[in-house]
Structures are given as C-alpha cells and as structure tokens.
C-alpha cells in the first residue's frame, strides 16, 4: 500500500518536473521566436526605408538631370553626379536586406535594370546637352517619357514594397497564431503543474496523517497487549527496584492501584521470609547484567494472600532506566494440583507396596498353613491307619465304619493341603525363566501318564510345538494338569486329546482339546477359581485346585487361559504364552 502511494507520489513529482521543464523550454523558444520576428520586422522596415531612399535618389537624379537640361546650370550636374554615384550602393543595400527571398531578388534585379536604363538615357541626354545638341536631348527625354523608365522604377519599387509588406503581414499573422497556441500550451502546462502540486501536497499531507494515525494505533495496540495480557506484567528499575510500569492484570490480580504500585519496590510484594533469597538473586542478577531470569517465587497480594508464581524477567531499557520486564504467572493452583498428584501417587505407591506385601504375606501364609497343617494331619491319618491296621475286626462294624470315614476325610484333606502347597509355590517372580522346548515338556508329561493313557485306550495327538521362554517345572505342571483333566473327564467314548499351537504376533496360542463330557458355558469362569468343583467327589475325584494352578502359571507367563466347550462334546482349553517373556 505504502509503496503504491509512494510510487504515485514519485510519478506525480516526476510529471511536474517534466512539465516545468517543458514550460521553460517553450518559454525560451517563444522568446527566441519573438526576438527573431523583431529582427525580421526591423529588417522589413529597413527594407522599406531603403526602397524609399532608392526611389527618392532615382527621382532626385532625374530632377537634377531635367533641371540641368532646362536651365543649363552645371551645378545641377554636380548634384546629379553625386546622386548617380550613390544609386548602386543603395540598390545593393536593398539587395542585402532581402536576404534569401528569390522573388524579391528578381524584382530588385528588374529595378536595377530599370534604374540602369533610366540612368543611361539621362546621362546620354546630359552628354548631348553638353555637346549643344539640345534637340537630341529633348528627344531622348521625350523618348524616355514614352518608354517610361521612371514609371517602371516606381512600379518595381511599389511591387517590392507591397511584397515586402505582404510577407511581413503573413509572418506576423503566423507568429500571432503560434503565439496564441504557445500561450495556451503554457497555460495548460501551468495548470497541470498547479494541479500536480496540489495533488502532491495533499498526498504528502495524507501520508503524514496516515503515518501518524498508524503510529498512534500501533502504540495503542502494544499498550493494549501489555495492559490486557492475561499474565501480570511489570517493569522495574534494576537500581532502585521500584516499579516503573504495571499492567492492568497485575493491578487486578494484586489489588494495588497503579499509583500504589509505582510507589513500591519489588521487595514490597515479597513475604518477609523470602527477602534473603530475593537479595541473593538480585546480587546474581547484578553480577550477570543482561541475563534472562526464570524462577519460582512467592508474592504477597494487597489482601495479604500469598501466591506461588512463575517469574520470567529480561532486561530492557525503559524511559532511560536500566530495567527489567517481568512476566508473572500464578501457579498456585498448579502447585496445589501437583501436590495433590504427588500425594495421590505416594498413596498409590504405598497401597501398591501394601498390596504386594499382603500378596506375599498371603502366599507365605498359604505355604506355612499347608506346610504346618501336614504335621497334625500326618498324625491324624497315621494313627487312624494304625488303628485300622491293628484293631480292625476287634471293634464292632460301626466303629470300623467311623474309622473308614475318618481315614477317608484325612486322605482328602491331605490331597487338599498338597495342592494348596503347590498353588502357593507358583510365585510371581521370573527367576527361573529359561528357553523351554514344549515338545520335550509334553513328552515328559506323556511318560507320566503313560499307564493311564493305555488303560483308557486314549489317543493323544501332538502337533509341532515351539520353544518358549518360561519356568520349565511350571509349564510341565500346566500341561500335566490339563492332560490329567482331559483324561479324567472323559465320556463313554475312548478319549481323543489334541495338543496344538498357533503362532500369533505377540504370543503362542496353545490348545488342549478333548472329546470328553464338556463344560456348561455358565461355569467357564468358575472352573479357574480355587476350590471350585463342578462334580461330586464320588464321580470325579479332585480338589478343585488344578485349573486355578494352571491359571496362575499362565498369568505368570504373561498369558491368559480360557475354555471353549459344549456339554457332552468336549472341551478345548486355550492359553497364551508371551513370546518375549
């Protein structure tokens, strides 16, 4: 915009300068022309005077010759001789004055011819008269009057003068026209220059005004940016620490008026206990002039309220003071949230530690309980067996029955305790993780169940199995429990068990499928819970811990275990083992 206007202004000034130059050139030219036409007019006048002089001289000569002829007075001859002598020069002067005009020149040549002719006649008449032949002289004069040299001279001069006057007139008219045109051109140009001058003047005035307005609006804008900033801002003198300027936000936030602020120093808005720190900081500022500072402080409002603030200060020159511009953000809330968050995190960490401690406690408890329970159980079961062995048949049949139930109960309790012990031994650590070939694990488990497999006429199909990272003992137990279940919960058909694996992105998906009695979907989750049994112990023996142990082992290996099943058609247990575990 500015360049555009600027260009127009430059153009206008250029045009004005050109116009003034044109005016000057035209004026000079016109002056020249006027001067030239003055010369021409003077020459024309001189020509007319000269032609008159020629006329007069011719007439004088003629009169003198005629007077001599009439009177015989020889003094007339002298005069005539002088006049005749002057004639050629007068005509030459006339010729000089016509310059390059060929028409006038040919007229002058004719005049010369007539003058010479006239002179010859008069001189011959004079010579005749001198010789006494007055009759011959009179005849010549009369003949001359007939041939009319005098008239011809008169008419030639007349023509010369007329032509001279006409040409002068034509030239004058032309000059006048040109002068008028020139006058107009000058007026137009002058008008244009005046208009341009007006335009330039107005333009400059407008530009100045706009510039001033722009400056004012820029100042307003920056003042507004300072004043209406969402952050409190101020400027303080680095020497006196006095406030030099504060913005509206500071006034609003801190409760001091502008004048109050300007009468205070930055130490006045600090809590007393922070003044030492402020002093130290200011010393460091003085030893590093020009440094940019950023820090967290506490400020006191007029109301006495203390707020936590984040302060950024950088050096500026302000109205001749070495000063610092300070931007303050209130971080009281943020600080509070941070503290809350910190408290929450601490609580959470404490809870987690408590939970982990309580988990460890629980496992220790389960281990100790099951371990220590064995001691009295062994007593109960051993002495019952001893009783059965030594005194069977010596008591009545009822006593034998009591002993039988007591022995049976003790047996079951023993199984429970052993399983519980096993369950509690599946820790959460990963200390025994090594690469484990699951094909080898299955082979070993198969050997354990060899007799059972033969007895049940079961068919076990095993796919290609991978090497995984895990605890070999626990993985063996996992497969052992699953295979044991598959063999145990068979239907009346011979069991068919398929063990397979599928490789997925992050883990191995193992499956152990059977064609047994299946599980009702409503129990899919329940079976993995410790001591949850679906069957009467007289149908299928077991403690209800096997799958709970499986779940614990799988979870320890970063995996998941679940079952898909249809009652009477078989179950498929799936579990995943994390590849990177």
């Amino acid at each position: 915009m500015k360049t555009f206007f600027g260009n127009r202004l430059v153009n206008a000034i250029a045009i004005a300068i050109v116009a003034v130059l044109v005016i000057v050139v035209l004026s000079v030219w016109q002056y020249q022309r006027i001067r030239d036409s003055g010369v021409i007019i003077r020459r024309s006048n001189a020509f007319l005077l000269q032609s008159e002089k020629v006329q007069r001289t011719v007439t004088q000569f003629e009169v003198d010759v005629k007077n001599y002829l009439l009177t015989g007075d020889s003094s007339f001859l002298d005069t005539a001789g002088r006049v005749a002598y002057l004639l050629p020069g007068a005509i030459d002067s006339l010729r000089l004055l016509v310059d390059g005009d060929s028409e006038q020149r040919s007229r002058i040549d004719s005049l010369q011819f007539y003058v010479d002719g006239n002179r010859n006649v008069l001189e011959r008449a004079m010579r005749l008269s001198k010789g006494g032949e007055f009759g011959g002289a009179a005849m010549l004069i009369n003949a001359e009057a007939r041939t009319g040299y005098s008239h011809r001279i008169e008419s030639a001069i007349d023509k010369l003068e007329t032509a001279q006057r006409r040409s002068l007139e034509i030239r004058r008219t032309a000059n006048q026209q040109k002068a008028v045109q020139l006058q107009w051109a000058l007026w137009c140009l002058t008008g244009a220059v005046v208009l341009l001058a007006v335009f330039i003047f107005r333009k400059i005035k407008l530009d100045l005004k706009m510039e001033r307005e722009e400056r004012i609006s820029t100042e307003d804008k920056y003042k507004m940016l300072f004043d209406k900033s969402p952050l409190a801002k101020w400027v303080y003198d680095e020497e006196t620490l006095r406030f030099l300027e504060v913005n509206g936000t500071a006034i609003q936030d801190y409760g001091y008026s502008r004048n109050e602020f300007l009468s205070m120093s930055i130490a006045d808005i600090r809590p007393a206990e922070d003044l030492d720190r402020l002093r130290l900081d200011l010393e460091s500022v003085r030893s590093h002039p020009g440094s940019f500072r950023n820090g967290q402080w506490r400020h006191r409002k007029k109301s006495g309220e203390i707020i936590d603030v984040d302060v950024v200060a950088h050096p500026i020159d302000f109205e001749g003071h070495r000063a610092r511009m300070v931007v303050v953000s209130d971080i009281t809330d943020r600080r509070r949230y941070e503290e809350q968050l910190h408290r929450l995190n601490t609580d959470l960490a404490k809870r987690a530690a408590e939970l982990s401690a309580s988990n460890a406690e629980l496992e220790r408890f389960a281990y100790i309980a099951s371990h220590d329970l064995q001691e009295p159980l062994r007593m109960v079961s051993s002495f019952l067996q001893l009783l059965q062995k030594r005194y069977s048949g010596q008591l009545d049949s009822k006593a034998d029955q009591y002993i039988h139930y007591a022995v049976d109960g003790a047996e079951r309790m023993k199984a429970l305790i052993m399983d519980l012990l096993e369950y509690s031994r599946v820790g959460t650590g990963k200390e025994n993780f090594t690469p484990v070939d699951t094909a080898v694990v299955i082979q070993e488990v198969g050997e354990i169940f060899h007799e059972k497999i033969i007895a049940a006429r079961a068919q076990v199909e095993i796919g290609r199995l991978p090497v995984v990272t895990g605890d070999k003992v626990q993985l063996t137990q996992l497969f052992q429990n699953l295979l044991s279940n598959a063999l145990k919960y068979h239907s009346d058909k011979p069991p068919v068990i398929r063990i397979g694996v599928q490789e997925e992105a992050a883990h191995w998906l193992f499956s152990v499928a059977d064609n047994g009695i299946g599980i009702d979907p409503q129990f899919f989750d329940k079976i993995f819970i410790i001591f949850q049994r679906l069957h009467n112990k007289s149908d299928y023996s077991g403690t209800g811990i096997g799958l709970a142990i499986c779940k614990k082992i799988v979870e320890r290996h970063g995996g998941r275990i679940w079952v898909e099943s249809l009652p009477q058609q078989g179950s498929t247990f799936y579990f995943t083992i994390h590849k990177k575990e």
Partner: protein, 142 residues
C-alpha cells in the same frame, strides 16, 4: 547280635511313637534314645562322648524348640568326636532351603516324612536296613 543304638531327636510324641512302632517291627534289635530338642540332644551326645553308649545313628527332625535340627547338625558335623556319626534328617519339611541347608552342613541324607502310614513305616525300615545292615560304619569304641 550287636544291639543298635539310635538317637531320635523329635519334639512330636506322635512321630516318636510311630517311629518306635516302625522300629519295633524291624529285624534288628535296637535301642532308642529320645531327645525332644537340639539342646537336649547335644547334652546327651556330650555326656556319652567317647563312652560306649554313643548312638550309631541319629534321626534328626528340623523344626525343634530351642535349637533346631540344622543348627544341631552344624555342631555335630564340626565336632571331631561326633562328626562321623551318620545323621539322617527325617522331617516333614520338603522346602528346598531346608534340604540345601542340611546337605551344606554335611547331613548324611535327607528324608521327608511320608504322610501315608505304610510308606512312613517303609521309610523307617529302609533307613534301618540301609544304615545298619548295608553300610559299613567305623567301630564306635574309641
């Protein structure tokens, strides 16, 4: 036939009785001394040290009052007068740390008491059979 002297260190009367029952059935005539804790057992051993009444075999439980089995084992196996007596750890514990601590203290063997009565009887008889009849031990007379 030479009478065998066994020192049974156990605080459980039931276990003592069962062990006795098992040994009663044994082929070899034996004599059993009982100590109910480590301190008592050590006092017994020190009393008879160098004498003719030193036990031929020690059956040692781990969980004992006052001085436990592994502590007593450590003392026996570092005592020049006692360390040649075979010590069989016979305990309910099957914890790895107990097994390791026992062998590290030169236990001669470690046996977990079977929960089943018949198996327990078998184990006791096997101990007797192995350590008394099969194994050749040095003469006890100094």
């Amino acid at each position: 036939m030479q009478q065998i002297h066994i020192l049974l260190v156990d605080d459980n009367e039931g276990d003592i009785l069962l062990t006795k029952e098992a040994l009663d059935d044994a082929r070899i005539i034996n004599r059993i001394s009982i100590a109910y804790d480590g301190v008592e057992a050590l006092r017994f051993l020190r009393k008879h040290a160098g004498g003719g009444d030193m036990p031929d075999l020690i059956l040692l439980d781990i969980n004992l009052p006052r001085m436990n089995g592994t502590e007593l084992l450590g003392i026996i196996k570092t005592d020049p007068g006692l360390k040649r007596i075979p010590v069989i750890m016979l305990t309910t514990s099957s914890a790895e740390k107990d097994i390791l601590a026992s062998y590290n203290n030169y236990a001669n063997c470690y046996i977990t008491k079977p929960v089943d009565l018949d198996r327990f009887m078998d184990v006791v008889r096997t101990i007797e059979d192995f350590w008394i009849s099969i194994v050749k031990l040095p003469k006890t007379v100094q």
